[in-house]
Symmetry: C2
Subunit: 132 residues, 2 copies
């Protein structure tokens, strides 16, 4: 994935080994991982990896807007390489998080119009089609 490296550069992020690996993980695993999931998956290949580095790197990605934060449960911060406007559905039973396409033109919230909105978050919970 030379891809990841270039993507980092274009956003003004120096493509260090750790940053590339973490970003590649986000690109490949579209399962909205937590810091811990990323750390545990990468540390066998990068034995010196520190959890602090994962935190630092993700915070950098958020700041440079190449990743976004997903909060569905308290105390469970997840990350997503998809920074476009979209939503999430979490199944209470299997705990899987589904992505939802969101067409903003089909979302009518009059009271929003008076403010200047920079972030849109939509998430839902329930039982997914497979668990019903």
């Amino acid at each position: 994935m030379e891809n990841a490296c270039k993507h980092l550069k274009t956003r003004g992020i120096k493509p260090s080994y750790q940053r590339i690996k973490i970003f590649e993980y986000l690109l490949r695993n579209r399962n909205h991982p937590t810091v811990d999931m990323i750390y545990r998956k990468l540390v066998p290949r990068i034995p010196t990896l520190s959890k602090t580095t994962v935190y630092n790197t993700l915070n950098l990605f958020i700041e440079k807007e190449i990743a976004s934060i997903i909060i569905i449960e308290e105390n469970e911060t997840r990350y997503d390489a998809d920074t476009s406007v979209h939503g999430h559905f979490k199944c209470r039973k299997c705990t899987k998080v589904y992505d939802l396409d969101i067409d903003l033109s089909k979302i009518d919230i009059p009271m929003l119009a008076e403010h200047s909105v920079t972030e849109h978050h939509f998430y839902f919970k329930g039982i997914c089609k497979n668990c019903r």
Copy 2:
């Protein structure tokens, strides 16, 4: 507010002094308080109040569905006595959280239809009308 007491009873919650006070706080202050805000406001009037009690009580309210959780920032859990479907807008500048009326019939998210949804969460960030 005899109101609060009755409301608790109808949901099968024994109306202890602390529970009534905490619920009244939620009813009066529609500003989406954190546990700490509730605790600090009530402890002068209830000197023996423990933060653990506030946590326990709010968790009970959530379980019995007379209050709901609002998560807009990581590490900042807020509570709301309004359990109806509605949204929130948080201003980055003044940090105020506005309520948004949401008309679900005007929200079209096709991919949601295949699941069975029990919770709807909508939140937005940006700069509010007063701060622009």
